[in-house]
């Protein structure tokens, strides 16, 4: 569906994307996980044809590069920087974007109504966006990507600046879209989002992909061992192990256990082991 081939993009001295290759298959939810400045947005920019790579190639669905408008018609993009017009109402914004994608008449109206409903903005549809909260603008930004029913969505940090409840709504929405067979590229620096949503995740840092695979694969490959912590009267006892159950059974046999904790490796540990840094620092 989407194929990136040794993409390189430099901004002056900064190499934002450094020889990145990956392939996203149809109906897959693909996560780009990385800290600030990893090169996620630059990658998305190249995927949708607004940033020209210094070298390498992007192909979409085997039809061509996204620099061709025809190819872009099959993309839905929600940029990280909110791209909605404050002076217009929510309805007018979505209607405008719908027209850019060739929708018109009754179909346009129906689609605008439908996507505003999906993102939960119907009650505020006729208000100017100026008065929306950050989370509402974020949802509108997402609605603009959906209006023309694209078979492929590129969502750049769609939950940035959103409260936990809206965030859950957005995650649910992405799940629903994925179930409808839409291919989704999803960037985030929240590992929970990546593990909850994505079929496969690429871990990015400094413009490079450090690891790529399903979440269990990544954790198994780079997450290290689970840590079992046994709390006794005389103190805590930490054990790194691949078989936490064995450790627990043994500890229970020895008696005097006051508490137990199992820390299973996750994407955070994967990132830590790959870069020596935490995802959020």
């Amino acid at each position: 569906m989407l194929k990136l081939d040794s993409l390189v993009k430099r901004f002056g001295a900064v190499t934002a994307v450094d020889g990145l290759s990956l392939e996203v298959s149809r109906a897959e939810v693909f996560g780009l996980l990385g800290p600030n400045g990893a090169g996620k947005s630059t990658t998305i920019g190249m995927c949708v044809g607004v940033i020209a790579p210094d070298s390498g190639r992007v192909t979409l669905d085997g039809v061509g590069p996204p620099t061709e408008p025809r190819v872009r018609a099959s993309l839905g993009v929600a940029p990280q920087a909110l791209a909605v017009y404050d002076d217009l109402s929510g309805w007018e914004n979505i209607e405008f974007f719908g027209r850019l994608y060739g929708l018109r008449g009754r179909e346009l109206k129906a689609r605008v109504g439908a996507v505003l409903d999906i993102v939960g903005l119907t009650p505020r549809a006729n208000d100017r966006v100026q008065g929306y909260s950050g989370g509402m603008k974020r949802r509108l930004n997402l609605a603009a990507a959906l209006v023309h029913r694209p078979p492929m969505l590129l969502l750049d940090e769609p939950t940035a600046g959103v409260d936990p409840q809206s965030r859950n709504n957005i995650l649910d929405l992405v799940r629903t879209l994925a179930q409808q067979g839409i291919t989704i590229v999803y960037t985030t620096h929240y590992m929970e989002e990546a593990s909850r949503l994505c079929d496969r995740v690429a871990i990015m840092d400094h413009g490079r992909i450090l690891a790529i695979g399903t979440v269990p694969q990544l954790v198994a490959g780079h997450g290290g061992k689970s840590v079992v912590t046994v709390v006794r009267a005389q103190g805590e006892e930490r054990t790194e192990t691949d078989e936490p159950l064995h450790v627990i059974t043994r500890a229970a046999g020895e008696g005097g256990v006051l508490g137990l904790r199992i820390d299973r490796p996750d994407l955070e540990s994967v990132f830590l082991s790959l870069t020596g840094r935490s995802l959020r620092d």
């Binding site: 408008p69 405008f96 974007f97 027209r99 850019l100």
Partner: protein
Amino acid sequence: MHAILALAVKDLRQLLRDRANAFFTFGFPLLLAIFFGVIFGGAGGGGSGIAVVVVDQDSGDGAARLIADMQADSALTVTLMQDRAEGEAMVRRGKATACIVIPDGFTAAVATILTGGSMRIEMVVDPSRRAAAGLLTGKMNELGFRQFGRVMGDTDSMLAAVGGAKERVLASEQTDPVTKGLMSMMFDSIANVARRANAPAGNDGDPAGGGGLADWRPVDVVVRELKDESVRPRSSYEISFTQGVVWGLMGCVTAFGLSMAFERSRGTLLRLSVAPITKAHILAGKAISCFAACMAVQILLLAMGVLVFGVRVDSPMKLGAAFGAASAGFTGVMMLLAGLSKSEGAGAGMGRAVVLVLAMIGGGTVPLFFLPQFMQTASKISPFTWATLAIEGAVWRGHSWAEMGLALGVLGAFGLVGFVVGTACLKWTHAS
């Protein structure tokens, strides 16, 4: 085309939604047009001639005839007053250019002109209007000569004048008898000529009558004014509404020119580039919306001028052409501004300032024909000047197509060059 229209409609909507932009594009120009129209004094900007106050202290026929001649002259606007001090006060207050006093004995003096007497007229002028005072002196000389002609044309006055002159010569002691005799013969012959020349016209002294001496003018200056300069706006609103248009165009240009910088820094420009449209679509959308807004501003303002303030348009066809050319020209200027303002901040402020200055010298503040010559020349760099000329050409200057051609062409060139240079300089991404 569908996408271009969607873009254009979006831009126009945004323009109207943004209160400040909408005000500076539509409201402010209208207020200025009305304001300038009122302070420059409603009707009759220049068509009414030099305002003078006349105080008649003579009250004779001679004075009455002079006053009638003055009133009939299109170059003068005459107000009659009884009191000299009152008349001078009018001049002091700037209500009149001069106070003309016709002194007692004027009618009697008219009769003595043949023998070296002179008609005396006093004129008190406003020193700040020397040029007008000079004009006025010439004018009064011309009218004075006409009185002289009248004396010659009127048999009775002529005979009286000749008779009086003969008597004075005969009575003179310095003149020798031979000269006295010759002079006396000469005066008799003149009296004979006068009697005969005026006879067919009617004996009872019709002064304007026949082919006699009534039409005699020692200096006959035939004044023909250049068509171009003789045409003046019929009312100050015809100027001020063009000024309003200048400000309206400026509002459009800055609003749309900066909206590009705005969209770029906000990221919406990038978002538009993601849609299945080309950059040409985006540019065309901006251009069409700017063109439409320029047209709307011009039409609305002028319509207001025509419907409410009595502005008359000589040629609606030419006005349409002027509007079209101005809209095209300013769409180009807008593109140039969009291309050159790299950011919302400093660059945009600079662009706004430049456009403001161009509008000010291009007829936005002082009407073009009031500007000193060198400023008129300098103002030619401003596209606003050409828009003003084109619109004025259609509204009151009575220009022919040929005369409008230059302004229309220059506006078109501004449009083309601005569009090409502007799009070439335009940055699409938000480079840091």
